[in-house]
Symmetry: C2
Amino acid sequence: MPDAASTQIVFLLFPGITQLDFTAPAQALSRMPGAKLAAAAASLDPIATDSGFSLVATHDFDTCPLADIVCVPGGHGVVDALGDAATIAFLKRQAASAQWVTSVCTGAFLLGRAGLLAGKRATTHWAYTHLLPLVGAEPAPGRVVEDGRVVTSGGVTSGLDFALTLIARLKGDAVAQAIQLAIEYDPAPPFAGGHPDRAPAAVTEGLKARVYDAAAARMAAALGG
Amino acid sequence: MPDAASTQIVFLLFPGITQLDFTAPAQALSRMPGAKLAAAAASLDPIATDSGFSLVATHDFDTCPLADIVCVPGGHGVVDALGDAATIAFLKRQAASAQWVTSVCTGAFLLGRAGLLAGKRATTHWAYTHLLPLVGAEPAPGRVVEDGRVVTSGGVTSGLDFALTLIARLKGDAVAQAIQLAIEYDPAPPFAGGHPDRAPAAVTEGLKARVYDAAAARMAAALGG
């Protein structure tokens, strides 16, 4: 892909989106030379995110340009979106011609429902990786997992690592490094425990009991598992 | 601050905002127990961000509740916002009663214009730290800098480290760890160069020549420097 070419990036938006699944990779990808960003939703009405504010799509499903890179964020709203025929049809249509089919967090299950993860190595948010076989995918280690044109990433903040990885692939290391430097992505998380492998067991178990055991059960039910 | 108490968080929105300066800390802070998030702007019309999509404020300046935590994001739009009397008056009014006065990236200069950084140790995006004395602040090392109730953070993605640090301060380490785990903040940036101290010199110099030398000059002019 020559530097001068434009790259059409299409994100899917839906109510109940975990907004950082979209906003973090959008921040990096929108700075890629030639990037054109679209955020597609069923309508152009404001979309309630999980964080107490709303986003506005740039296109509805009918008017959205076809993607070079299609990216599906996650969030608790995925459970409802899995049952929305227009959303799934939109993803199938976009993926038919996209060079890259990608997801952040539980967006992987929307790709899966659209038949795009069958036989693919993939990842998702740590609390849902065991459900990937319900869409025919094989859980694979890593924060960003590539299998051919399909790139999936782990929970929420992994979208930033995903985006920079993809930019390096498309435009070279120097472009990705410049974007990483522009957004001062020199992370210094206050704790080591951003993944269950490193979090205190009590923190992980408490979070599962309060949130993710039930959330994963709802996802499994929506997937017919 | 007891766990049961609500915490009113107020973010400032403005055209040309670097959206991740807002969306990253909003993702973490909105999950803090008792958090109420407001995103205030001059009006409730969609606000164009730097990333090709729009956000919608939850309140205008007149109806926004008073903050316990006020947070000012940055972006190229800061230059115009510095000259907007309503924006600066809003920040002064909010800060008068806030327990925490905070910024991400070049949002620091809006705090400064409102008189809130005089004599304070502070930070901002790496390309602008040398301008902090123009608002009476003393540049300090670190990705998150605390000076009394004033907490400033570095460029863009530092807002996540800022938010988790503040959550740990307000609600304890276990709460912050659970939120960090929920958003799987276990960063694995593809390059080491997220800060000029670690980026290849050619990447830093190229980025300054293309973007930040001119941008910092515009900021300095807007600050009367």
